[in-house]
C-alpha cells in the first residue's frame, strides 16, 4: 500500500513540475527572467477561488464536461506506474482502458465546445476531433509494442516484467519513448501542432475549446492537462529507464526534465506547422510507431537473417 501511495505521489510531482520546467526552459532560451517555477500552480489556485460564468446559450453538457474531462484523465493517471513501483489500480487489459479514458475525456470537451454554438469553438472541436482520431493509432501501437515484449496487458505488469528484457531491444525502447514524447506534444497542444501561448482564436486548437470556461471549470481543465502530460511523460520515461536503470529515482526526474526541456526547446527554436500540415506530421508518427511495432514483432520471433 505504501508503495502505491509513493507511486501516486511521485506521479503528482511529475504532473506539477513539467509545466514549470517548460516555462523555465522557454524563459532561459528567450533571454528573459521569466515567471517563477510554480507560477502555473498559483494561477490555478487563483482560478479555483473565482466563480464561474456561464453563457446563456449553453446546456448542462457544458457544465459537466470539465468534471468528465478531469475525472476520466485522473482515472487513467492512477494506472501509470513509476518504474519499479506499483500503481494504485491495475488489472489485465488496463492499457486499453487508459487509452479510452483519454478518448472519453477528449469527447467530453469536444461536445462542450460544440454546445457553446460559437464558430471559433466549433472549428477548434473539429480540429481536435481530427487530430485525436489520427493520433490514436500511434498510441495504440505504442502500447501494443510494450505489451508484445512482455506478454502482459497491464501497465504494472509490463514494467514489472520489463526488467528482464533483452538489452538488444534498447533501440526499440528508445523509439517507443520518442513516440510517446511526440504524442505528448500533440495531446498537450504544444508547438509544432498547437500553440498554447497564442492569442489568435483562428489558429487555436485546444485553447479555443476552453474559451468559454472560467473559474473552477478552467482550473479543472488545466489540472487535467497536467495529468495528461504526466501520463505520457511517465510512459516515455519508463521505456527509457527499462534500458538503463529501472528505478523510481531515475525515472521520475527523467520524466520531468526530458519532456519539459524537449517541449521548451522545440517551442523556442521552431515555428508552428501550417494547420494543414499537422495531418502529415501526425501520420508520420503513426507510421513510425507501426514500424517500431513491426520490427519489435520480428525481433521477438528471433528470426535469423
Amino acid at each position: 500500500m505504501l508503495v502505491q501511495l509513493c507511486n501516486t505521489l511521485l506521479m503528482v510531482v511529475v504532473a506539477l513540475s513539467i509545466t514549470g520546467v517548460i516555462n523555465r526552459t522557454r524563459a532561459l532560451l528567450a533571454g528573459r527572467k521569466g515567471i517563477r517555477f510554480a507560477q502555473h500552480i498559483y494561477n490555478v489556485r487563483l482560478l479555483m477561488r473565482k466563480g464561474a460564468v456561464y453563457s446563456s446559450t449553453t446546456s448542462i453538457l457544458f457544465r459537466i464536461a470539465p468534471c468528465i474531462y478531469l475525472g476520466a484523465t485522473l482515472m487513467a493517471f492512477l494506472f501509470i506506474p513509476v518504474a519499479d513501483l506499483w500503481p494504485l489500480f491495475s488489472f489485465h487489459g488496463d492499457i486499453v482502458l487508459v487509452a479510452y479514458l483519454l478518448a472519453l475525456s477528449r469527447m467530453a470537451l469536444i461536445l462542450a465546445a460544440l454546445d457553446t454554438g460559437s464558430s471559433f469553438e466549433g472549428m477548434g472541436a473539429s480540429r481536435e476531433a481530427l487530430y485525436g482520431a489520427l493520433v490514436e493509432p500511434a498510441l495504440m501501437m505504442g502500447l501494443a509494442t510494450l505489451a508484445l515484449f512482455c506478454g502482459y496487458s497491464s501497465f504494472a505488469d509490463i514494467f514489472a516484467d520489463a526488467q528482464q528484457l533483452d538489452m538488444n531491444l534498447t533501440v526499440i525502447m528508445l523509439l517507443v519513448a520518442y513516440v510517446f514524447v511526440v504524442i505528448l506534444f500533440i495531446e498537450a497542444g504544444r508547438v509544432p501542432v498547437d500553440d498554447p501561448k497564442t492569442h489568435l482564436e483562428l489558429t487555436m486548437i485546444h485553447e479555443v475549446m476552453c474559451l468559454d470556461y472560467s473559474g473552477i471549470d478552467m482550473a479543472m481543465i488545466q489540472i487535467a492537462g497536467w495529468l495528461k502530460n504526466a501520463i505520457f511523460a511517465m510512459i516515455a520515461a519508463n521505456a527509457i529507464a527499462v534500458a538503463f536503470c529501472f528505478h523510481w529515482w531515475f525515472a521520475t526526474p527523467l520524466a520531468i526534465i526530458a519532456t519539459g526541456v524537449a517541449v521548451g526547446v522545440v517551442e523556442s527554436l521552431r515555428a508552428r506547422n501550417k494547420l494543414s500540415r499537422n495531418v502529415t506530421y501526425i501520420l508520420t508518427i503513426v507510421a513510425l510507431s507501426a514500424l517500431v511495432l513491426l520490427i519489435g514483432f520480428l525481433l521477438t520471433q528471433n528470426i535469423e537473417i
Binding site: A30, S119, G122, L200, L202, R270, A271, L275, R277
Partner: protein, 505 residues
C-alpha cells in the same frame, strides 16, 4: 479644353480658380483610358460643399513624370441622374465613391455595391448603421460563416471580419470598418489654431504619428509660402526613417509571434524598443509626437543627439541584420510564409495598392522615389525595395530590406551634418494663401499618405481631407486570404498591418 492642371509634390498651393471645372463625362472618358495604364493611380477623390452645390476634386498621380494631375467638376446639384461609376471599370476608386455616396447620397451608376464606408457622423442616411451592414452572403449547406470582431480579443482596434468558409478554407472575406470613426476631418476645421491641428494630425494613426504630422506641416507650409530650411527637411527625413525602422522591426516580431516563433519575437521586441527609445531621447516621445511642427522645430538636433542616433542606428542595423539572415534560413518559418496570401501584381494594380504591400507585389509605388518631397529627390536619391512574389514572405522581406535601407539613409543624412543652430522655432501664425488648394503626399512606413486642404477667402481652412494608405490596402488583405486556410489569416493580417483608425478617421 485641358482636363487637368499639372502640379507636383514640391510646388506651392494652387488657386482654386486655376483648377479646371470640367464636364464629368469628358473626365470619365479620359480616366477610363488613362487608368488602364498602371503608371497612374488615384491619390484622392472627394466632394465638397460650395455655394451652388457640390464640387468634386480628383488627384491622380503619374509615377513616371512625378506629376500630380488635378481636376474638378461640379454637376448639377438637383440632377437625379447620378454619375457613371469609375469603380465599375477600375476598382481602385471604390473607397472614394463609397465615401461620397455615404456623405452626400450621390449615386454612382453601375457601382458594384455602394456599401457604407465608415459610418461618418455626418452621413446622409441615418438609417444605415453598423447593425445592418449588408454583408455579402453565399448560400450552401457545406459553407459556414465565421465572424471575428468587432471587439478585438487583444489590445488592437475594432473591425468586423466576416469569413465565408468551406471547412478550413476561406472562400471570401469581407472587412467592415468604421468603429474607430472620430470625425478627425471635421475636427481639423473646428479650430483654426495651427498647433491644435498639428496635434490632431499626430493622432490620426498612432503608429504613423511622424508621417501624418509631416503630411500636415508640408501642406501648411505650401499654403504659408515661406521658404523652409533644408536642414529642417533633413531632420524630418531622419524622423520619418526612424519611424519606418521601428514599425518594420515591430512587424517582423509580430509575424514571428503569430507562428509561435519565440526566438525572433523577443529579438525584434528588444530592437524595436531600442529604436523608439532613440526617438524618445531625441524629442521626448517614443512615437515622435511633438517632433514635427510647421515652419520649424522645438527639438533641433545637436551634435550629441546626432552621435547618439548614429550609434543606436548602427547597433540596431547590425543586430537586425543577424535576425534577418537567420530568418532567411529558418525552414519552419519559410514553410509558413512562402506562397501564403498571394496578391498578384495585376490584382495589386487593379485595387490601387500602395506602399510596402504594393512593392512586395512588384508594383513600384514609393512616393520617396516617384514624387519626392523635401529632402528626398535631390539630396537623397531613393531606389524602392521591390519583391515580386506578393506573398507573406515577400512582404516580410520588403520590410527587412527597408529597415537596412532606412538605417543606411539615417547614417548618410547624419554623417556629414553639422547643426548650424539656424533652424527656427515653430511658427503657428503664418497667414495662409486664400482660396487655394494645397496637398501633400508623404511616404509613411505603411505607404502613401495624402492630405488635401482647401482655404476660403479669409485664409482659413474650410475643407480638410486625409487619406491613409490603409484605405487602399484593406481590400488587398481580403484578396490575399482567399482560398487560404482560415488559420493563416492572422499572419496575412500582420504582413499588411493596416490601420483601423487611419481608415475610419
Amino acid at each position: 479644353m485641358e482636363l487637368y492642371i499639372r502640379s507636383n509634390n514640391n510646388s506651392s498651393a494652387i488657386e482654386l480658380s486655376n483648377i479646371p471645372v470640367v464636364d464629368y463625362v469628358a473626365l470619365y472618358n479620359d480616366l477610363k483610358e488613362r487608368m488602364t495604364d498602371s503608371r497612374y493611380h488615384v491619390a484622392h477623390y472627394f466632394a465638397t460643399e460650395v455655394e451652388s452645390g457640390l464640387r468634386f476634386f480628383i488627384l491622380i498621380l503619374d509615377d513616371q513624370t512625378s506629376e500630380v494631375l488635378i481636376s474638378s467638376f461640379a454637376p448639377d446639384y438637383y440632377s437625379e441622374e447620378g454619375l457613371a461609376s469609375l469603380t465599375a471599370l477600375h476598382p481602385q476608386f471604390h473607397p472614394f465613391e463609397r465615401e461620397m455616396h455615404e456623405l452626400y447620397g450621390i449615386n454612382f451608376n453601375h457601382h458594384p455595391w455602394l456599401k457604407p464606408l465608415r459610418f461618418s457622423h455626418d452621413r446622409r442616411n441615418r438609417e444605415s448603421s453598423m447593425d445592418n451592414y449588408p454583408f455579402y452572403q453565399i448560400e450552401g449547406d457545406e459553407l459556414h460563416e465565421v465572424n471575428v470582431g468587432p471587439i478585438h480579443a487583444g489590445i488592437i482596434e475594432p473591425g468586423a471580419f466576416r469569413f465565408i468558409c468551406n471547412g478550413e478554407q476561406v472562400l471570401h472575406l469581407e472587412i467592415a470598418l468604421g468603429y474607430q470613426h472620430r470625425g478627425v476631418e471635421s475636427e481639423m476645421l473646428r479650430n483654426q489654431s495651427r498647433l491644435r491641428q498639428t496635434l490632431l494630425s499626430e493622432s490620426i494613426a498612432g503608429d504613423s504619428a511622424i508621417s501624418h504630422s509631416t503630411a500636415y506641416v508640408e501642406l501648411i507650409e505650401k499654403l504659408g509660402e515661406k521658404g523652409i530650411d533644408q536642414d529642417l527637411n533633413r531632420e524630418r527625413a531622419v524622423a520619418i526613417e526612424l519611424e519606418r525602422i521601428a514599425m518594420h522591426i515591430a512587424d517582423t516580431g509580430a509575424l514571428a509571434t503569430d507562428i509561435g516563433f519565440q526566438l525572433y519575437q523577443v529579438a525584434c521586441e528588444a530592437l524595436r524598443t531600442m529604436t523608439i527609445n532613440t526617438t524618445q531621447a531625441w524629442c521626448g516621445n517614443r512615437f515622435g509626437k511633438s517632433l514635427i511642427r510647421p515652419f520649424g522645430t522645438n527639438h533641433p538636433l545637436t551634435t550629441e543627439k546626432i552621435a547618439m542616433i548614429r550609434n543606436n542606428v548602427k547597433e540596431i542595423r547590425r543586430r537586425y541584420n543577424e535576425v534577418r539572415c537567420d530568418i532567411l534560413e529558418a525552414p519552419t518559418l519559410l514553410s509558413r510564409f512562402e506562397q501564403c496570401g498571394l496578391v498578384p501584381t495585376a490584382e495589386m494594380k487593379r485595387i490601387g495598392g500602395v506602399g510596402m504591400a504594393a512593392r512586395s507585389s512588384n508594383v513600384r509605388r514609393d512616393i520617396r522615389a516617384t514624387h519626392p518631397w523635401g529632402f528626398y529627390g535631390e539630396e537623397l536619391v531613393h531606389e524602392p525595395v521591390m519583391h515580386d512574389d506578393g506573398d507573406v514572405m515577400s512582404r516580410l522581406m520588403t520590410r527587412m530590406d527597408e529597415v537596412l535601407q532606412s538605417a543606411t539613409y539615417v547614417e548618410q543624412m547624419l554623417a556629414n551634418y553639422t547643426p548650424t543652430g539656424k533652424i527656427p522655432t515653430p511658427d503657428y501664425d503664418v497667414k495662409l494663401k486664400t482660396n487655394a488648394l494645397s496637398f501633400s503626399i508623404v511616404e509613411g512606413w505603411r505607404g502613401e499618405i495624402c492630405h488635401v486642404a482647401l482655404t476660403n477667402d479669409s485664409g482659413d481652412i474650410k475643407k480638410y481631407k486625409i487619406k491613409d494608405p490603409s484605405l487602399h490596402n484593406w481590400l488587398g488583405l481580403a484578396i490575399a486570404v482567399r482560398s487560404e486556410g482560415i488559420s493563416d489569416f492572422p499572419i496575412n493580417n500582420k504582413s499588411f498591418n493596416l490601420s483601423y483608425c487611419g481608415h475610419d478617421l
